[in-house]
Subunit: 439 residues, 2 copies
């Protein structure tokens, strides 16, 4: 019997805007940040749970305040009880009636709960001595179904239907696990495509991406049609006809504008158009998808919960579902989303990049392959090659693939030096920012 | 030329959970609260702008932090410039690229921006010496259109179409203004219907409501079917056949459950079913509306922005649109929503109650009647009779109607004693809570 003794929070920020890493049509100068937490216990086993919300700078302190606001659901409570029934724990956090008003189930409050849920999973996986993907892949279909809150889902997915999907995938788990260890999980890279990069840098990085074994790259679009056409022509010339090129408008357009703009880009053989319009606009995405077919529409990094994803798949509004590790309420809700994707037959290609999103989300895709959808067909995880050095178990990405992590936990733990050095505004990086630009 | 000198924030909470005022199927014990702000200037005219986010207790401090996070867009800036182009000011606040990540345009961050926008409108109206409804009703169609951000709306409503609606309503503004002053704006009351009240209290309050001139009351439902049927029978017996009874499930059901449950309540002649399921579930509401027709479906108090409302009206998912003064990003976004309602021909019956929602939202309905939809047909504003004494200009509701306020401003200013006494946790009410229960 042990108890949670503390929920510690940290406002961690990286001054990425100095290099225009991460720049796109809607986010010209992000400072990649993490509203971070550590859950400590009195178990004496040395294990802590780490989790975070990814943000892009200003307002990170609001997410920190939101994480702090759920501490009464954790501190002083029995660890084994909380971790032993993660379905019940999730509901207790998400359905706190007063905090729920701040969403419900969306925005800062929901993301903060996601960080806490993920920190609990990190702790649970560490106590089990397993990486999260492996821990989840070993759970029975019944245990997995018990993690999901089916409220608001049953018109599209019932517990029985979820059970059926998971039971079907029970066959072959061992083979797929072996396959994963041997082949890795496909990755694509966004590194060449940021809007703030020059044409020369785009070409150089695209060439490097192909050399490194990537079969898909992604370019940001939506600020200037003329620039987009020039950059796509350059990219297509550089990578040749066999490498896929996806484009990402980061919510820049209205519905008709998206259709019109994409008619100019479609000739460059586009793998998908990502976030063509508001992430809230299910009907708008459905209309764009109909008009651009067969060009696939992708979205998800800003889709705020399972109820929205339910409608996206019901309406045929996306073909590529880009779940995010820290936008929805953590592992449990992402399991619901993986099940919806499996039921409706859409491909899951998670959003990553940012701070630690690659480290976190790989576990979900690998688990999905082993125990949910049972396929990697048309699926891949986004990859961006920065800020990994700040994590205790950085991703292993090479030869165009993510390689399964072995370290126990959910991948969400930063190294201690980063927590000390990048804390805002007291950390060394913020009191002496020139240290960063010389890196 | 004057400048904004300060944006002051206050965490104001009322211990309403002690009396179960405001109790419903999802919110058993709310402590009605306000994340409150005051904008001060160096104009020397004595005017301040007041605004707030309504919350129900825990987490109010997160909304306060979010209000604080936009101060760099106000403090030090020229007041006349900000107030002179409220369309541009709105966009600057909502499209702050880093803060936008925390929504986008939803949850805590969006509500906080709404509070700030409303405080600016409060200041603008006070400087003009007019109540907000009158200030808005005197603006030209072109000025009104300039307040709206049409991004993500143009597939349903273009600036030209909005202009056409407003120009059509320009005819007869003076007559409708006179009519409003003579007749007031219809109100309905939720006072009798809270779930935590006994049958005796329900009957007594329902009888009083009829005696006071209300032609519609509303009952909370969704916790127990047996209780709901008994309470509805009692209410119907009490008010007779000519008073309308609406019911409100506060998001309690899944889609099929809503249809099934309402089949038991429909025989009591229901005015509308409000929030039958998740406020995010546009397609679910549409399905419920189809199956329950002609029983109207109402929703809106938790619908987080204009993009969601756009889809609700596009999908025929609601017949009664319940906008809220502090859920979306303030007056500007509510103008967009009023225009969508006018375009699609749905009735607007605003959500009120809470803390100061009645005081704030009446301005929008009255303006809508004078200058947007031009009709009160089937429209009314919710009324709950508590906490009004905390406002500088409490609503004037009698004879079943809201009577137009004359005090300059947006209705969002609390009295100074309340700001001092109810601030959390230092205020007297929280250090000596027994003072409240003796009131």
């Amino acid at each position: 019997m042990s108890a949670i003794t503390a929920l510690e929070t940290f406002d961690i920020r990286f001054p990425t805007s100095q290099h225009l890493d991460g720049s796109d049509a809607m986010n010209p100068d992000p400072d990649y940040s993490a509203a971070y937490l550590i859950i400590r216990t009195d178990a004496g086993d040395g294990h802590e749970g780490h989790g975070f919300v990814f943000t892009i700078g200003r307002g990170n302190e609001i997410a920190v305040a939101a994480i702090h606001a759920v501490r009464h659901h954790l501190v002083g409570w029995n660890v084994e009880e909380l971790l032993g029934d993660m379905g019940a724990t999730w509901k207790r956090l998400v359905h706190d009636s007063q905090l729920r008003w701040l969403g419900p189930e969306k925005g800062v409050m929901h993301m903060a709960i996601g960080a806490v849920v993920n920190a609990l999973w990190d702790l649970k996986a560490k106590r089990a001595g397993l990486p999260l993907w492996e821990l989840l892949s070993r759970m029975s279909p019944e245990e997995l179904v018990s993690l999901v809150d089916f409220r608001y889902l049953t018109d599209a997915l019932t517990p029985d239907q979820a059970l059926e999907i998971l039971r079907r995938a029970e066959t072959g788990r061992a083979e797929r696990r072996a396959q994963l260890l041997a082949e890795g999980y496909p990755a694509y890279t966004t590194t060449p495509g940021w809007l703030g990069y020059s044409d020369e840098k785009l070409v150089r990085l695209a060439r490097e991406a192909v050399a490194e074994g990537y079969t898909q790259i992604k370019l940001k679009v939506g600020a200037s049609l003329e620039d987009d056409v020039r950059r796509l022509r350059l990219a297509r010339e550089t990578v040749g006809p066999d490498v896929r090129i996806a484009v990402d408008a980061n919510q820049r357009w209205d519905v008709e504008e998206a259709v019109e703009w994409m008619s100019w880009l479609a000739p460059f053989d586009i793998a998908w158009i990502e976030e063509p319009t508001s992430p809230d606009d299910i009907l708008g995405h459905a209309e764009i998808a109909r008009k651009l077919a067969p060009l696939p529409v992708a979205t998800g990094e800003h889709v705020h919960n399972r109820v929205m994803f339910k409608q996206f798949v019901q309406a045929g509004a996306l073909e590529v579902l880009q779940l995010d590790a820290t936008r929805v309420a953590g592992v449990n809700e992402n399991l619901a989303i993986l099940l919806l994707a499996a039921k409706f037959g859409v491909r899951v290609c998670p959003h990553a990049g940012g701070v630690g999103l690659c480290e976190a989300v790989q576990h979900l895709s690998m688990f999905d392959f082993v125990a949910v959808s049972g396929t990697k067909e048309g699926r891949m995880i986004e990859y961006v090659d920065h800020l990994h050095e700040h994590f205790a178990a950085p991703v292993d990405v090479h030869s165009g693939a993510y390689w399964p992590p072995f370290a126990p936990g959910a991948g969400t733990e930063m190294v201690a030096g980063t927590l000390a050095g990048y804390v805002f505004p007291a950390g060394q990086i913020w009191s002496a920012p020139s240290a960063f630009s010389q890196q």
